[in-house]
């Protein structure tokens, strides 16, 4: 198995690409692309499980590292690795991929080859973002993740696909211009794109604080749009309303939140501290604003979009509280949110497939016809609003504890209001769709309850929600073991992550 340790991350990046190529060259027969995609995603999920199985908790630095020179000048390395922060996120991406394939199984009937090829390409890009430790490589995957997404939204959107895709692409592409300039400027001054090298150089005062401030702002801007953070969320609801469910599951949150933790706080701890109060205020506004807007949506995808805004803002609040509890809670909540959202999106996609509408008002009393679907929905919904014993509770609890006891009581109380509103809109949504008198639509259309394939996808997700709610220590242990608070004026080894003992001599030279 040790042989696999060296190449596991590369395999994770390559397997979806191979699947995409296979689909591209395979004949366009019946469900063949679907099956190849499913097999590929399951294989990559199994490979991803290798990571936690052989992960050494508490060991400093990155694991499963590979560091090969890619381009000589400028010195860009193929440098990948995971630590406790990214470990479970990679697994999460692996888990969501087969769920996404199942969610698209019957909905994508035209041009499945293009859909599944691009879907798998997207998979590679997302894993790439989580494992890259070279800033250029990271930037490459970051940008690459936009393209398949935009094309898929444009081609497979519901009504206004191309328009939503354009909005999504521009919203996320333009902020990455300052990000790239910032990276280039850092390179011009240090001759390095390497994450750990830069971290060391920054803590040793390689840059004047004012320069670091602008750099950190450029990074933050790109990440805040991607999360999205209020008021940069303009793309979110259109994208959710148009994107196929498989993509909506992955479009928001994870990449941006992870990047904030790793590249904003990780590289610029001092500057993050300066900006944190403002960010937390924006986050609380986002929590409340998202929840209020979710209450008044008529379309369930848009409702989910604003719900996502509210939930993701809560995670931002935890991240910029700059406490260990907050970060652990944030990572846990990203995982939980990923699983719960995947289940909800799958269920809503199945509803849409059966009844052909996304208007909440057209539904009513569906539970009588689809009792199993309704049961799963209620379970996932309860996990989402943070009922104890389900996964959402643990993360929210950690986030609120950290904010309330260590950061600001006012902010915690305000954000908690958002959670109450969250319970309101989700319960109301379940009531309007599944309970009450049967609507004419629900009465008129005969609809089958869950198929075995859908059943087989939902059961593991629900089991996972329960497990994450009942035995959070399975995950919290590894997550917390690798997170360290930044110290104000760092000595050699303490920044957010423990660093290798030896400095790269080349980078020292570059400084002079």
């Amino acid at each position: 198995m040790n042989a696999l340790n060296q190449s596991i991350l590369t395999l994770l990046l390559v397997v979806p690409l191979i699947g995409a190529l296979l689909i591209a060259v395979a004949p366009d027969r019946a469900k063949l692309p679907n099956w190849i995609a499913l097999a590929t995603t399951l294989a990559s999920f199994l490979l991803a499980l290798h990571l936690p199985a052989h992960f050494v908790a508490g060991q400093a630095g990155f694991q499963y590292e590979a560091n090969i020179q890619w381009i000589e000048t400028p010195a860009i390395f193929y440098h990948v690795g995971v630590d406790s922060l990214s470990l479970w996120l990679v697994v999460l991406v692996g888990l969501l991929a087969p769920v996404g394939v199942v969610a698209s199984w019957n909905r994508i009937t035209e041009r499945p080859k293009i859909f599944y090829s691009l879907f798998l390409l997207q998979q590679t890009a997302m894993i790439g973002v989580f494992v890259s430790l070279d800033l250029m490589l990271y930037y490459g995957f970051w940008e690459l993740s936009l393209v398949p997404m935009a094309i898929l939204i444009a081609m497979y959107g519901r009504k206004n696909g191309p328009k939503a895709a354009l909005k999504f692409f521009l919203y996320t592409f333009i902020p990455s211009a300052p990000l790239l300039v910032a990276i280039l400027w850092m390179y011009a001054c240090t001759r390095s794109f390497d994450y750990t090298t830069l971290q060391i150089l920054f803590t040793h005062g390689a840059f004047p604080p004012s320069a670091l401030f602008w750099l950190s702002l450029a990074f933050l801007f790109a990440f805040a749009v991607k999360v999205p953070l209020f008021p940069l969320h303009g793309w979110l609801s259109d994208t959710y309303a148009e994107a196929p469910a498989a993509l909506a599951m992955v479009v928001a949150g994870k990449l941006g939140l992870y990047s904030m933790l790793r590249f904003h706080i990780g590289l610029f701890p001092e500057q993050a501290r300066l900006l944190a109060p403002w960010l937390m205020v924006l986050a609380v506004i986002g929590v409340l604003y998202g929840a209020c807007l979710a209450l008044v949506q008529r379309d369930f995808w848009r409702l989910m979009a604003f719900a996502a805004l509210s939930h993701l803002s809560l995670i931002v609040l935890g991240i910029y509280g700059l406490t260990l509890t907050g970060w652990t809670g944030a990572v846990y909540q990203i995982l939980s949110h990923g699983v719960v959202d995947a289940a909800l999106f799958l269920l809503l996609a199945l509803l849409e497939l059966r009844y052909g509408t996304t208007e909440i008002a057209n539904y009513g009393g569906v539970a009588a016809k689809l009792p199993r679907l309704a049961t799963f929905f209620v379970l996932a919904m309860l996990a989402m609003i943070g009922l104890p014993m389900l996964s959402g509770f643990v993360g929210e609890f950690l986030l609120f504890t950290s904010t309330f006891s260590e950061v600001s009581r006012t902010l915690a109380v305000l954000a908690a209001l958002g959670v109450i509103l969250g319970a309101a809109y989700m319960l109301w949504l379940a009531q309007r769709i599944f309970y009450g008198p049967q609507s004419p639509l629900a009465a008129s259309l005969p609809a089958a309850d869950l198929h075995p394939g859908e059943w087989g996808t939902l059961v593991p997700l629900v089991v996972l929600m329960l497990a994450m709610g009942l035995a959070p220590s399975l995950w919290l242990g590894t997550i917390a073991s690798g997170l360290h608070l930044p110290t104000a004026k760092a000595t050699t080894t303490s920044t957010v992550y423990a660093l290798p003992a030896t400095l790269n001599p080349a980078s020292e030279e570059g400084l002079r």
């Binding site: 080859k113 293009i114 895709a165 280039l184």
Partner: protein, 500 residues
């Protein structure tokens, strides 16, 4: 003095000349009714041989030939390979994209070959008068090619406009040479480089630099000398635009590098800000104008103006980085631009039956192959990572950041965000379900040779984005040789005395 026969120094040019002549002779001897496709094959063969001889020139020791008028060095080889490759792509594409009944096919291929002679010579000339003659050779063939659809109004307009403005620009360039001769008494590049710092008449030197820049910036279609570009691209047949928008520009950029870095390196404080202003202007003018275009070729014409701007941003860099970055960008830009115009030639047809952005609606459904290639080349033009366009922009702007022009890099990258809007408009149109009359359109026919041409462009664009090391090394050694003149320089035994 030279051990190598001079002829080896201009071997690719010779190959292209022979190809052109053979094509004209064969064309004249073929019966009128016979298909002219064989001529295209000769041209493709000639381009391939020229490509091979260009690479072979690498084994020659760097130096000059023909009394110090032409040079072979990694710099010239870099551009020769690029130009020969582009000519090969153009010819392969033309073999499939030219309708069988097109008039004067023999001349078409011959003109491409003769144009290539000019472009290649332009990059290897180290005597400004030879450079001028090369510029004229390449220009005259492109003037004719631009007007190839002479029975249409737009075709004639394009050719006339291109010819009038183009000859004006070359006149400027020639005047610049004359003034340089006036100031120093020579037109040989290395002699000029030596004598210009000593020249007493500064006004003359400055005027000469300014006039030469006007001439060259016209050829690379940088603002404010860009007005001809959209009209010419729109009027010329798309298979011609594949060549027009790439190879002559590559050659002109080589000339620009030669003039500013080799002839006038001492005036850097003067030309650098000038070129950077032109860079910003080109980006803004190109992108803002492209936003409003509905015609695909006009839109891409404005986009090529913006790309000239990105490229000029490299000149903010220091030392050899700017030359390397600019050379790499030329390679990336020409690969993706040739690719996208090849896609357009096959989609819109020789006569531009489908010229508008809206006409591309449903391309991804009608022909997934062309649709995906279009999206790929657009992604590269936008600058998505793992494509040549990305590394091109990356090197150019890191060169700018290196030289301290952070503001320029930010302007440039924001501009590429702006540019994404109109590229995406085309992409979105291609991704939309076909509607109305598009449903009835047949799938575009892609012949095997056109497919080879497309794949060459796509492979080059992808390779430049994933394994740029090779080309980057070539660009760096090119930059190095351009900056440092070869040791054993040929100078005419008796230089004319310096003018007072």
């Amino acid at each position: 003095m030279n051990h190598i026969p001079d002829i080896f120094r201009i071997l690719p040019e010779v190959v292209f000349t022979i190809t052109g002549v053979v094509i004209m002779l064969v064309d004249a001897s073929l019966p009128a009714a016979t298909s002219r496709r064989s001529l295209g094959r000769i041209a493709a063969l000639g381009a391939a041989i020229a490509l091979w001889t260009s690479v072979g020139q690498l084994s020659l020791p760097a130096g000059t030939g023909f009394y110090g008028t032409v040079e072979t060095s990694p710099f010239t080889v870099f551009f020769h390979v690029l130009i020969a490759g582009l000519v090969l792509v153009t010819v392969l594409l033309a073999l499939d994209a030219l309708p069988e009944e097109t008039h004067h096919q023999g001349e078409y291929y011959a003109l491409i070959s003769f144009g290539a002679v000019g472009m290649c010579l332009l990059t290897s000339a180290v005597e400004l008068l030879v450079a001028f003659i090369a510029l004229e050779i390449s220009s005259i063939s492109t003037y004719i090619l631009a007007g190839y659809r002479k029975d249409t109004e737009r075709g004639t307009e394009a050719a006339l406009k291109y010819f009038l403005l183009g000859s004006f620009a070359t006149a400027f360039f020639l005047y610049g040479i004359a003034l340089a001769f006036g100031a120093t008494g020579t037109t040989q590049v290395y002699a000029l480089a030596r004598l210009i710092p000593q020249a007493t008449n500064h006004g003359l030197v400055l005027a000469s630099l300014a006039l030469m820049l006007v001439g060259i910036l016209f050829k690379v279609s940088a603002a404010p000398f860009h007005v001809w570009t959209p009209d010419v691209y729109e009027g010329a047949p798309s298979p011609v635009v594949v060549l027009l928008s790439t190879a002559p520009k590559a050659a002109a950029f080589a000339l620009l590098l030669r003039v500013v870095c080799e002839v006038f390196p001492t005036l850097e404080p003067l030309w650098k800000p000038l070129l950077l202003v032109v860079a910003v202007l080109s980006m803004l003018v190109g992108n803002l104008a492209a936003l409003r275009q509905q015609n695909v070729k006009r839109m891409l014409a404005y986009s090529s103006i913006a790309h000239a701007g990105y490229l000029l941003a490299a000149f903010a860099g220091l030392g050899t980085t700017n030359i390397a970055a600019a050379s790499f960008y030329v390679a990336a830009y020409t690969a993706m631009n040739a690719g996208i115009f090849a896609v357009i030639s096959l989609t819109s047809g020789y006569d531009d039956e489908l010229p508008q952005v809206a006409d591309f609606r449903g391309l991804l459904y009608r022909s997934p192959m062309l649709g995906l290639l279009l999206l790929f080349f657009l992604a590269s033009l936008i600058g998505i990572p793992f494509t040549g366009g990305f590394f091109g922009k990356f090197y150019v702007f890191s060169s700018a950041v290196d030289g301290g022009a952070v503001a320029l890099a930010i302007i440039g990258l924001l501009n590429s965000g702006l540019a994404a809007t109109y590229y995406l408009r085309l992409a979105a149109s291609a991704a939309q379900r076909p509607e109305g009359r598009q449903i009835l359109l047949p799938a575009p026919r892609i012949g095997i040779l056109a497919l080879v041409a497309l794949m060459l462009c796509a492979a080059a664009t992808l390779a430049l984005g994933i394994v740029p090391n090779g080309v980057l090394h070539a660009a760096q050694s090119a930059a190095h040789t351009l900056q440092v003149p070869p040791a054993e320089q040929f100078f005419p035994a008796s230089l004319p005395p310096n003018h007072p």
